[in-house]
Amino acid sequence: MVKNKTLGYRLFLAFDYLILTVFSVLCLLPVLHVAFASFSDPAWVMSKSGLILMPHGFNIDGYKQIFTNRSLMGSYGNTILYVFSSTAIGLLVTVLGAYPLAKKEVLFSNVLMLFISFTMLFNGGMIAFYIVVKNIGLLDTRWAVILPTCVSAFNLILVRTAMSTVPPALEESAMLDGAGPVRIMFQIVLPLIKATIATVILYYAVAHWNEWFNASIFLKDRSKFPLQLILQEILIANDNASNATQSGQLSGNADLYKQLMKYCTIMVATVPVLCFYPFIMKYFEKGVMIGSIKG
């Protein structure tokens, strides 16, 4: 990039590499700490106060506990169900709705866009949102987790922007052949904006996987809890509330195992996302770029 590298610039570059290396390592260390601790001897982990940079012993008791823990495994299943259904419904509603909004010749397209964009600037707040979900009878049903957040105005704008770049001539020829708008959208427009659709699917899926707050206010029935809500009990509320699933059988070493369980649950909840995020990063970057063009 720069040919005449001055001494000052070289010093700066050395500093640049150093600081970025340090921050990268800082990002990695807590994750490694948790990973190593989850496989280590729990008594050793308890006695150790610093960062764990190497596992001590090899111990999979914590994982055995987790995979036989019915509420945790059940919540894992719930989360998979919620992520799939919410993403599928949200995506369908988003692409169906974005298509007419991307068409200039539709008289009300701008009015409707304004109607949706306004919700990004002003909202009713969490209490009114809760009361509405309650009044329409979704409270404590699986729909309360799936429906209320399945569409995001931001993702809608991403899809609409991408659709408006598709040349109308491509659609016109299909229209002359007698294809309806739904068919044209699915068969002609969507294949042309695959990358944007992938981005939007990932935005939706990651958000639903991590979703915790709405589930915590809408659900009472433990059998419907998503993973994150059970995690909250194990990781945070555990110290105050007694966790029925662990006490009893582990009375003597209860504390040790509780700690080990925490590390193992973090791993089980996080590893799936961490395994595939490097492959989807480019889609996230793309999404940010489209988003920034449109604002």
Binding site: Y9, D16, I19, F23, G50, K103, L107, A128, Y130, I236
Partner: protein
């Protein structure tokens, strides 16, 4: 210009009915989950009782607002919200840009890829797991708890002491969001025309001068737009992290407007009162966002809408 005459509307509906039909689920979604809650803001002026509904509950005018501003909670929650927000604005906001600039100086290659990959990672850790890791690290026997203990003499649980709340909140935000937040600036930086750098170099500009005169102006629109968003949401600190981590011992510095609304409304069922606080908060945010946007439009031509 579009004409919304009856004849035009009729013709449009006849021609585009199928397209409008496609938008029905989307419109229904926003009506139910965005506009109905806005209508629910009516509760702010009522002593809302769920069994009496929106129209049967007693109307109390501005009583809920007066109750809030007359209580000591108003000062505490507004102050804490503003302090956290301002810290984000003066610490996180510039550091994210600096981080992007540092990445931009690296040659494209393995090292740069690795740095980006590793620093994006914390963003994908869910808030609950993040909070779990924080709880574990800052307890008296945890890594950070012990580290701070070296300076204070006695390691304590940092989440039990109000003076550590803000540094912890901002520090962990940086850990989780710095890398991911920089993406938008890195993208903007890669869009700067390379011939500008070449020209600057021919003129003898040092790399530092190039940064000031080429790089920063090149991403100024992005910076301004992000700044508008940041300032427009200055009263909108999210509640999730706070609710997961705080406890009555640290309410003095930790309790923000959003967590207060959550406690009053969803834990104590004081719907009217908490909706009033929520409405106050939303209105301030809306006004801030629109005002900063207008100001920016006037002075820099960059605007959100």
């Amino acid at each position: 210009m579009r004409k919304f005459t009856w004849a035009a509307i009729k013709k449009d509906l006849r021609k585009h009915w199928a397209l409008y039909l496609m938008a029905v689920p989307l419109i229904a979604f926003f009506v139910v989950f965005a506009y109905m809650p806005m209508g629910g803001l009516l509760m702010a002026f009522e002593n809302y009782k769920p069994n009496k509904g929106f129209f049967g509950s007693q109307f109390v005018g501005f009583q809920n607002f007066l109750d809030f501003f007359g209580s000591p909670f108003a000062y505490r929650t507004i102050r804490n919200t503003l302090v956290i927000s301002l810290l984000q604005l003066v610490i996180e906001f510039p550091l994210t840009i600096i981080f992007a600039l540092l990445i931009n100086e690296l040659a494209l290659g393995k090292f740069r890829k690795t740095v980006q990959m590793l620093t994006y990672m914390p963003y994908f850790i869910s808030m609950v797991v993040m909070a779990g890791i924080i709880v574990d690290f800052v307890k008296s026997t945890g890594v950070i708890g012990q580290f701070v203990g070296l300076f204070t003499g006695t390691p304590t649980n940092l989440l039990g002491d109000p003076k550590y709340w803000r540094p912890l909140y901002i520090g962990t935000n940086l850990w989780q969001g710095l890398g991911f937040g920089s993406i938008i600036y890195v993208a903007a930086l890669s869009g700067i025309d390379p011939t500008l750098y070449e020209a600057a170099e021919i003129d003898g500009a040092t790399r530092w001068k190039q940064t000031i005169h080429v790089t920063l102006p090149g991403i100024s629109t992005t910076i301004i737009i992000m700044l508008i968003l940041r300032i427009g949401s200055i009263m909108a600190v999210g509640q999730e992290k706070t609710i997961l981590l705080y406890n009555p011992q640290v309410y003095e510095t930790a309790d923000i407007i959003a967590s207060f609304i959550y406690r009053k409304g969803l834990l104590e069922f004081n719907y009217g009162y908490s909706t009033a606080v929520s409405l106050f908060n939303s209105v301030i945010n809306f006004v801030l966002l629109v005002t900063t946007n207008q100001l920016s439009k006037k002075f820099s031509e960059a605007s959100l809408f």
